[in-house]
């Protein structure tokens, strides 16, 4: 089983839905051209298929082995990680100042999808290093930047995010790890962290932990959290790793999937205190954490897309090859590839349509991050920042949810072979299942979308986005191309359901927050459904306009509109009318 990056699908989504063509035309990325970007993506696809993808099952079978405080990664892992770093992939979107290539986030997003499609257990490591780079770059002192960023950007060292504690998961404010001022500007940390991805490993000669902790005089809750940089090895004056710091892995979890990613329980300071360096201001750690977290959330969405793509490719290949049964009119002595059966087609189309929709939402989010960083005027940067903030929870949750759904359909397409581990289809489902959980559960994403993102700019951010979706619907209706079937009507219903549900949500936020919270998850799904449907239609329109690949893109968009977007009205109803039943649930859940 191999993986081939779907470069044509990625390219089309980038150019015609995520707005990359426009951005390039506007000279937004200097003299960078689409040809340059295509060259990068082609090179990335080679790295993903040839170097990383073959390790996916090796990693699953061998896992990351914990012994005497050390973690040994799976065979081949180290070599692949080095080759990947040498290719410059870790610092693709990092600032040139620190050795990065300074390429657009949207290009890095496409690459992130590929690393995770090749191996989610591999991809999740760099995801956290990139988050650490962001946090240090935005919030760290000049000295911290100078001492740590270079090696993090090359990937010579990796980064981690130490957030969760046994009593503090979704509720970060409940964390208890303590940091005491040492008097010399450094801090001493003591505590226990759990679920620390790549908290310990043998890939690099240092690991840079970013640790949330509480000062002795900190206010309670999230306003009393500070962020610290805690290196595994303290640096010598020349910057090389020196003395071991008082932070160590205590155990590694046995997980459903991503076996090759070591998920560690970490002990800080049981030998007196881990030496930490403050990142940003005391008690302002939440802002730093959100810098790391937002990028990581988008990356988790891309992980969902990547696994979905790989599961889809595998199912498609199997469905073309496996012969079983006959189509109407076929002689009894012959048998058809199962892709000929309408029910199998439905599964494959669902897989492909959901994957491309989620991919495009993620790319559009990354593009908004680029615009927020590079926009020439303040208003444009503000609007782009709003857009990125609005779309991030959708990118994370919708994409990771469909990652699980698509991987499960992939198992189903394989029939009995899908349940046999050797086939590999089951691994995709196991691996995909973490993405709706980590970096903020999808329930938390939905609540974030409803309570924090809808009110952005007084509701203006979401209004502007719905306006864009309406313009796509208008274009579909204007085209009236028969290849798009009933797409216009179905997408119009979906977008209007989203508009009504949004207005309802905004009204409820002030008054009836429980009902808003009860509808948050179906609201996020409605958002992803309406947006995904419109974005696929937009891509079909571009293909029809360009007369390139129009048949497949129109068929996919139509399938989404007529078979998936039709659920929008039901989701609206669930949000607007179904909340009381959720709130009234106590009775039914009491026993």
């Amino acid at each position: 089983m191999t993986y081939h990056a779907p470069l044509a699908d990625m390219d089309h989504a980038l150019k015609y839905s995520a707005g990359l063509s426009t951005a390039l035309e506007q000279g937004f990325f200097g003299d960078l051209s689409m040809d340059d970007i295509d060259a990068v993506l082609t090179e990335a696809s080679r790295m993903a298929s040839e170097v990383i993808a073959p390790l996916n099952r090796v990693g699953d079978l061998n896992g990351a082995i914990f012994k005497d405080g050390a973690v040994t990664t799976a065979p081949g892992w180290k070599k692949a990680y080095r080759a990947w770093c040498q290719g410059g992939w870790n610092g693709l979107a990092s600032p040139a100042e620190w050795g990065g290539q300074g390429l657009p986030h949207v290009v890095n997003a496409a690459c992130t999808e590929m690393w995770n499609a090749a191996s989610a257990a591999f991809g999740v490591g760099p995801m956290l290093t990139m988050g650490a780079i962001d946090a240090i770059n935005v919030h760290g002192s000049e000295e911290l930047k100078r001492r740590y960023l270079g090696k993090l950007v090359t990937g010579e060292w990796t980064g981690t995010m130490h957030l969760t504690e046994p009593q503090a998961g979704s509720d970060v404010g409940a964390l208890r790890t303590r940091a005491e001022r040492a008097g010399d500007g450094t801090y001493r940390l003591k505590g226990q962290k759990i679920f620390i991805t790549y908290g310990e490993h043998d890939l690099t000669d240092n690991i840079i932990h970013l640790v949330l902790a509480r000062l002795p005089d900190a206010p309670p809750g999230t306003r009393g959290i500070s962020l610290f940089l805690v290196p595994k090895f303290l640096l010598n004056p020349d910057g090389s790793p020196g003395v071991r710091n008082d932070v160590r892995a205590h155990a590694v979890e046995h997980k459903l999937g991503i076996h090759a990613s070591p998920t560690c329980t970490m002990i800080l300071g049981d030998q007196g205190g881990a030496i930490g360096f403050l990142v940003g201001q005391e008690n302002a750690g939440m802002a730093c954490m959100f810098t790391m977290m937002n990028r990581a959330r988008l990356a988790v969405g891309l992980q969902g897309v990547g696994i979905a793509e790989r599961a889809m490719q595998q199912a498609l290949a199997y469905a073309r090859e496996r012969k079983q049964g006959r189509t109407p009119g076929m002689p009894a002595t012959e048998s058809a590839p199962i892709i000929a059966h309408p029910d199998v087609k439905r599964m494959l189309m669902t897989m492909r349509a959901l994957t491309q929709a989620a991919r495009t939402i993620c790319y559009a989010t990354a593009m908004a991050i680029d615009r927020a960083e590079r926009g020439t005027d303040k208003a444009a940067r503000h609007d782009a920042h709003d857009r990125a903030s609005l779309l991030t929870p959708v990118a994370k949750a919708f994409s990771s949810d469909i990652g699980v759904e698509v991987a499960s359909l992939g198992v189903q397409v394989h029939g009995g072979m899908g349940f046999v581990e050797e086939t590999g289809a089951a691994q995709h489902l196991r691996d995909a299942r973490i993405a709706p959980i980590y970096e903020g559960t999808n329930g938390i994403q939905a609540i974030d979308l409803v309570t924090r993102k809808l009110p952005l700019s007084g509701g203006g951010a979401v209004e502007a986005y719905i306006g864009e979706l309406r313009r796509i619907v208008g274009a579909v209706n204007a085209t009236n191309d028969p290849a798009l079937g009933g797409s216009g009507a179905r997408l119009e219903e979906a977008v209007e359901s989203l508009a009504r549900a949004t207005a309802w949500m905004l009204a409820k936020l002030g008054n009836g927050a429980d009902e808003a919270l009860a509808g948050a998850t179906p609201y996020l799904r409605l958002f992803g459904t309406a947006a995904g449907g419109c974005l696929l239609a937009q891509q079909a329109l571009a293909a029809l306009r360009l007369n390139a690949d129009a048949g497949p893109r129109a068929a996919l968009a139509r399938f989404f509109a007529e078979n998936i977007a039709v659920h929008a009205r039901a989701l609206e109803r669930t949000i607007v009318e179904g909340g009381s039943a959720v709130i009234a649930a106590e009775a039914a859940l009491a026993h």
Copy 2:
């Protein structure tokens, strides 16, 4: 993590939705009383919770070990199986003539749910033995019955179903295993079978394989298949196991879930030929197979229900215990159990509502089987047989699909802990994932429902069922109880969507079969959704009438109607309008 059989929910579903109260009042089961049945179920629940449930994780961790042709079951498995047999559970619904207890199938259905909730890997074994008993009892010669049924009914021997071959999965007619007439009335079988559940194990001193094979002069396809009884050990004249037959396990699969259930590759006849005894007539094996298969399909549905119930119980317990975050107005120093959060309530209610709906559909199917067997007049038996035939694919596919969905929600409720194998939530998802695949994939079930079951009695069978659903809707609308919220309107829409989609399907079957096949899966889901919603409402109405447990049952029914049944219209649309997009999928699936 423990399992407690939800006796009150089972009881209520049996009595007020599956029609058990009416059947008992009619004296349908002789002098059997509800008290007798409750005593049986209470005893079964004890066996399930105390003896089988503790082995679920042991079985997952140890699996069934294959070595030198023998399979060693997981520690404790043998002892539990013996205790279970000694309790008489294997022969609960088997004919008294062969040592069974002759209890109703509907009671056995409730017990089957419990065995599978306790351990799906355990439950799947007896499921096949019971299917073998049915096939031999209905189609076997008197001699075969006399020699084999007694020990199969006690469970001293187990039964298997040998259907699948590498090239013959969903397409049973493609099988190649050969059976030659030996001249003495017996046959010699040669071939290879795959995915044979409990094909080899150490639980009993004999295994009775029912094998589909082809005579040398058989017509091609399904009309040339015969069924043979192939014992692992040939019987001595006194009926005890004697000489080893030429059938053996060659390997055991490494699977995503149900690790403790040995899934074997079987070799028949490589030492000259496995001795087989014909069951039924030559070339009439498909009818025999459907006898086994139909019961097994219902049992797989019950397996979905059982796993869903256990996943729900575990998630509910965790949600009550785990504290995280605050509800509005709570002091910052406190934290609430996560069940207090509306989004978690939504997940738990979805789990509970889908589980009880699927449970009731399965029980109603079992009740129809009882009525088909025991009905006093021919017309009633015919109608009941139609009903059982109609509901069986829905019971299998809807229940096994929701089994996966509910188990996946169970992982989500647990957050990060759900992804850690020790928690047990992930095992439910892994175990549940087989049920939509085996005993005919859910795609095959949907096609069976649409192409074979809707046309039963000229469409009269489905019409009668929809009539019953309409009567429930009428009763909900007549009651107008505020506890049921908008249930009446939502269920009416769902049932009318089902009615329209049914009429469309019946019209398409003659003319446009591809479109009917394209819509089969959403049609089955619509059927399960409309039926499930009505059955929960029926149970709520009964509770309101009896003034017992009315609050919880009304809340559950209302939740289903307002949050799940609302998708009926979208499913109808997908069926009626979305098929062309599926058939047009070639373009989008070509690359």
